[in-house]
Amino acid sequence: MGAGISRLAWRNLWRNRRRTLIMLAAVAVGVWAMVFMSAMMRGMVDEMVRSGLEQLPGMVQIHQRAYRDDPSVVNSMPSPEGTLQAALAEPPVTAWAARVRVPAMVASARASRGLTLLGVDPAAERALGSVPPTISEGRFLEDEHDRGVVLGQRLVERLESDLGKRVVIMSQDPQNDVADRGVRVVGIYKARLPGDEERFAYAGRAALQELLQVPGQVSEVAVMATDYRRPQALVEHLARAAGPQLEVLPWTELDPFLSSMLDLQDGFSLVFMVVVFLALSFGLVNTLAMAVFERIREIGLMQALGMRPGLILRQVLLESLYLLLLGLAVGNGAAWLTIKPLESGIELSSVARGMEMFAMGATLYPALYWRDMVLATVVVLGLGVLASLIPAWRAARLDPIRALNSH
């Protein structure tokens, strides 16, 4: 009987061609909107995570075990060598940088500020993507031996300092003695988040190691790899190479907030899809109810001829299922066709100012994920069939004699 009712359902679907096409268009537009919006959101979150990882920096970080509790220079580690260095040279690692990261004071003649001083190797940081995006005045550090310092614009304003002027940097060496040195401001940077401009200052790594008397020691090793979604394998690989003294952590643990964005996005997509579907479901239920209402006599006839209510229910559900499947095919197809060309990026310069707040770049790269199409399909089919149960149930419960005699 399966083939029989599927044929009936299919033909019934096309009895009112206009109504079916309108409903089909509604489902298709709804599905398109679901997938398209998800792709845009994926692009946004992806961008957010990427830029977040550039700031963190890295998808994986390696520290001395005690460092996270007490990020002072006492808890530094030797610069990677041997097996760890070899492991960092292999895929999926794309870049890594070893950095000194210490709490410090920066003082001008007028004011002083506490911040995090980063002793970096500029070439390695560039590969990592963790250098400040914009140098507004002067230059960034030339190499790790550079004895200058690069400060954020807001900090320079607060210190009432300027490019070329001298500031004093102060920090603690491992003996808890204050190490300080006068340095020249060689560059002023602008950060995406203005707050960062007061939080981070950059110095040459070797120069800072020398100041703190920790030659060859670094605070952290930041590692970038190909896929930020799966840091775990890399963590295990590096942990084995790093040995028990060192702690290797994925970004998901280093920055739980950033990591929660990913889960949040799945939730957002689902909620958005369900909301779009709810709007659709009214049309769907109404269309089916109309279809059933118009066919009361013939449903009565089928019942009189011995068709059991369960089959009548299935017939109406099947009709709805065909409509939903067609709508899904068209909607997903349209989403694919509209998103693919946009994956190379959408310029958002006009609204980019507002977006900076979310650590977004000026270009949005929508990302079409199979799972979003699958999710939209599951939502539409699942809820669609559920909603269709109402009219289908009514059809199945019709009294054959009454139905036959209705006009």
Partner: protein, 232 residues
């Protein structure tokens, strides 16, 4: 042997406060292979009796035995199966599923019965040929005349090989030529297939085709006449 046996059937309809008598202690025995006409004025209970015999409706009291099955006590699902496998229906109008062709309509019940595709096709072909509609088997009901539609309905009823065919005013919407044609088909099938026919009608043109005429009045059997020399 009796095809269907009704004993003491009562049925009352309620319309608000009003009580309407549908059947009033009706007892009737119909022999297998017979061709019975139920006649009587409008509202006399013909349809009510047919619906009860066909398992579409249940009497308030009394007993109906189809072959050897008591059917007035069956539940809805069992009644559906009974209608599917043992009863053929021909209604006054709107007998066919509009989206199916004549042939698909004939096959529809067989499909519900679970008859295999090949046998279904063969049986549909044979029956459509028997009723003289082989050339029209691909047409949808809307493309058939009223008489042709009724004949397709008869073909569907026959093809499912029921024990009993119940026809409720099958000629009411037909011109006399089509009505005659349909009655001749009934007589032919009744004789060839030995199927029992019970037909409700107040069309005097067609009563004479029956070999037994049961007359109802206010839900009671008023007369029951056999006409052995029914029209050939």
């Amino acid at each position: 042997m009796s095809a269907i046996h009704c004993r003491d059937l009562c049925k009352t309809f309620h319309q608000g406060e009003e009580e309407i008598t549908g059947l009033d202690h009706v007892s009737l025995d119909i022999e297998a292979g017979s061709f019975v006409a139920l006649v009587g004025p409008s509202g006399s209970g013909k349809t009510t009796l047919l619906n009860a015999m066909g398992g579409l409706d249940r009497p308030d009291s009394g007993e109906i035995v189809l072959g050897d099955t008591r059917i007035d006590t069956l539940d809805q699902g069992e009644l559906a199966d009974l209608r599917l496998n043992r009863i053929g229906f021909v209604f006054q109008s709107y007998n066919l599923v509009p989206v199916l062709s004549a042939r698909e309509n004939v096959e529809f019940v067989m499909q519900l019965q679970g008859v295999g595709a090949q046998e279904r096709a063969a049986r549909a072909e044979a029956v459509l040929a028997e009723i003289g509609l082989e050339g029209l088997s691909g047409r949808r009901p809307a493309e058939l005349s009223g008489g042709q539609q009724q004949r397709v309905a008869v073909a569907r009823a026959i093809a499912s090989e029921p024990q009993l065919i119940l026809a409720d005013e099958p000629t009411a919407n037909l011109d006399s030529h089509s009505a005659t044609q349909l009655m001749e088909l009934f007589v032919h099938l009744n004789r060839e297939h030995k199927v029992t026919f019970v037909m409700a009608t107040h069309d005097t043109r067609v009563m004479r085709y029956a070999r037994r005429v049961v007359s109802l009045q206010d839900g009671r059997i008023e007369s029951d006449q056999r006409t052995p020399e029914a029209v050939e």
